[in-house]
Amino acid sequence: MASAEPESAKEAPLPPPSTAPRGGVNLSLVDFGLRFVLFAAAVSSVVVIVTSKQTVVGKLRGVPPGFPVQAKFDHSPAFIYFVAALSVTALYGLVTALASVSVIAKPNLSTKFLLHFAVWDTLILGVVASATGAAGGVAYIGLKGNSHVRWDKVCYAFDKFCRHIGGALAASLFASVVLVLLIWISIISLHARIRK
């Protein structure tokens, strides 16, 4: 294609036309949608783990038969920390979803918002990751036990409890992935605005 080559040679030194205004609005919509998804994931995780109470009779080893044993999320400080951290994340998701509406409405004044979003998203990512790790560690011991320290597994008896904890952990893992995507979007939007 001899006619196409000089055109491409002329266009190569110039930077590609900036699609920031159109791309910026689309990214803001994606940002708002993802923040709402973050809020939903955090709320569902909290609800699932709070409703995980289970009472079991006669299945747990080391307990006399006929004696009811209960498992609740507040029997372990790691799960309490998990509930607190994910509640904070849910509130954060709601507040920043409302704030990103103003980013969509006024794109000119949004650089400061994007900067704040990126920084606070990173902090909340740290919180969610640590809560997931803590609850995951305790849940793993409940599932597999630990023979070296004589900590018995409990999930064979409390099946509904362990399923709820597993579901809540999956939702919080999804929430942390959503947070990483949100930080990427904020940084790409900041880059696009600087190029202008």
Binding site: G62, A71, H75, S76, P77, A78, Y81, T111, L115, A118, V119, T122, L123, L125, G126, V127, A129, S130, A131, T132, G133, A134, A135, G136, G137, V138, Y140, I141, G142, K144, N146, H148, V149, R150, W151, D152, V154, S176, V180, I183, W184, S186, I187, I188, L190, H191, I194
Partner: protein, 201 residues
């Protein structure tokens, strides 16, 4: 630093303005660079110390029990190592990964410090820094949760506390956990510094 309008800028030549802007911007960016390298080095140091302290630490105790006076006492051998707990394995492995990443990215950022600003380079570094933040924070949370169970036990699940028996190991582990948290805060500061760097351009 203020942008002083020069004679070349007044004639409306786009290249003149852009070259002046770039000179002052790169000077301002050079102010930021030492902090980036110093924070990376601190992250490397903290995660290295945490991984080494937990990896090397080992406490063994012999517990002798006498059942009757006529028989000699029976000796029970108990040891505490990081390989016995999966959460501790995750902690050591995460800190090793973060330490290796900090070393590689420190070398990379020192080598490419003078080059023109490339969006792909900063995006790549920020993405990996974010992954390291998530990894390190989750490893710290898991280790802290297992440490709390070891220290206080859990009466509902009948998990006995073990820190009363392995006191030295628990103290070493707590120190390593605090240092690892400091290291993960360094990685967090790296992401914040990169974002602020973007904004100040």
């Amino acid at each position: 630093m203020q942008l002083k309008p020069a004679a070349t800028a007044m004639d409306g030549d786009g290249d003149g303005v852009r070259s002046h802007v770039k000179v002052i911007e790169s000077a301002r960016r050079r102010l930021r660079w030492p902090f980036d390298g110093v924070v990376r080095f601190l992250g490397l140091a903290f995660t290295l110390v945490a991984a080494v302290v937990v990896g090397v630490d080992n406490e063994s105790k012999i517990l002798s029990v006498t059942i009757t006076k006529s028989l000699p006492p029976i000796h029970f051998y108990a040891s505490a190592k990081w390989q016995y707990m999966s959460a501790f394995k995750y902690f050591v492995v995460s800190n090793c990964i973060a330490c290796a990443y900090a070393a590689v990215s420190l070398v990379y950022s020192v080598k490419t410090r003078g080059q023109k600003d490339d969006p792909m380079r900063s995006l790549l570094l920020i993405s990996f820094d974010l992954i390291m933040v998530g990894l390190l924070f989750s490893a710290d949370g898991a280790a802290a949760a297992i440490g709390v169970i070891g220290r206080d036990g859990n009466s509902h699940m009948h998990w006995i506390k073990v820190c009363g028996f392995f006191e030295g190991y628990c103290h070493h582990f707590t120190a390593a956990l605090v240092i690892s948290i400091a290291g993960s805060v360094m990685f967090l500061c790296l992401v914040v510094l990169s974002v602020l760097n973007l904004h100040k351009k």
